[in-house]
Symmetry: C2
Subunit: 192 residues, 2 copies
DNA sequence: ATTCTTGGTTAACGACGTTAACTTTACAGT
DNA sequence: ACTGTAAAGTTAACGTCGTTAACCAAGAAT
């Protein structure tokens, strides 16, 4: 049919499409193959396993997220403004790309093998964006660890997205109010 | 349908045991049946589906968690102390019962059907423990919603557990430091 | 004594990830 | 032109999964 990586490209494309349409759990190698128009076996010519295939998508997602966050940092000068927008942007990414967010951060080692350490570096850049601002604002304080602070903020944002996506947040709470409060609480990391 | 039987008890017991030993993804109806010493089909005499079976375990987990949290509230009088301990206790539960926490809060609707709404009420009691303290401390402020505040704190705690269980937290950060910082940031919800 | 009910089984369906073995295609060396 | 070989894809299968239809054994009720 197609040569030199063309099929590989199609597989990734259809996998992403199916992921967005139906969610990770509903995507099977057989469905991807059917969508592409090849046999399930052919996928194994380009990817070692289902995990490996989705790790490629994770990598793409990490790239998208970083790009989105990096733009925010560039566009604003004031650290507090940057931090605030960074939080909002992260939340937005998670809530608007639930399937991507799922394979990137929500699936556990039992479901999807942990992301290879080398590629994990890329993921850490996102955390570093938060840490950098914290360093800028609170770097002088001796007992403050920016990486630790960033991880705490990340926990808050990640938790908010997780609960929201899992529909565990009380329905009486308006999503926008919830987001606002999460961001408001996150930026407190800049104070004191 | 739910009948009262010895076999039902054994099924739940072995399911829990397998869950603790191997994690949700590795537990199959066949394995449970083998551990109990019956056929996979027999499980369907007592549970409508795999989801239903695990929902029973979720219910049990919710009970355990609530018990653990309720004790903390009883044992301390000072609201701030209560809140702080509540956070620590929640984190402790998540980190020390990863498989329970997984089925209770981490699995998404695609993997495990959402917990039935009626039983979900029980789960909400836990959130209410946080909300009650917030009401006690900040109830007078007109623009403060305790339920919303509790949900934000829950997001932080839940996110911290999720990231820790998924091994996404930077290895250079000591777990105890991370926990301390999370709690410290959580109790800020009591201020201002 | 015969029917009904309870509590279990056997065997199977369709779907899954993955693999071994085979075929087809393309092309390089003689 | 002919052959050897490597790449690209296929067919068929293995062992797993959740779940269901059909059957069966034994006790209770009539």
């Amino acid at each position: 049919m197609a040569r030199n990586g063309e099929l590989r490209r199609q597989i990734l494309e259809q996998a992403r499409s199916l992921l967005l349409d139906e969610g990770y759990a509903q995507v099977s190698m057989r469905k991807i193959a059917a969508a592409v128009g090849c046999t399930p076996t052919s996928i194994y010519l380009y990817f070692d396993s289902k995990d490996a295939l989705f790790h490629s998508l994770v990598e793409e997602g990490m790239g998208r997220l970083h790009e989105q966050l990096a733009v925010v940092v560039e566009r604003h000068a004031d650290p507090e403004e940057q931090f605030c927008r960074l939080c909002r942007s992260y939340l937005e990414f998670g809530l608007e790309n639930p399937e991507f967010y799922e394979i990137m951060f929500l699936l556990h080692p039992e479901q999807l093998q942990r992301f290879p350490t080398d590629k994990y570096r890329k993921a850490r850049r996102n955390l570093q964006l938060f840490a950098d601002i914290l360093t800028e604002v609170r770097g002088t304080e001796p007992d403050f660890d920016p990486l630790l602070g960033a991880t705490v903020v990340w926990s808050l944002l990640h938790g908010a997205i997780s609960l929201q996506l899992a529909k565990r947040v009380d329905a009486r709470l308006a999503t926008s109010d919830f987001i606002d409060q999460v961001v408001e609480h996150a930026v407190r990391m800049l104070q004191l």
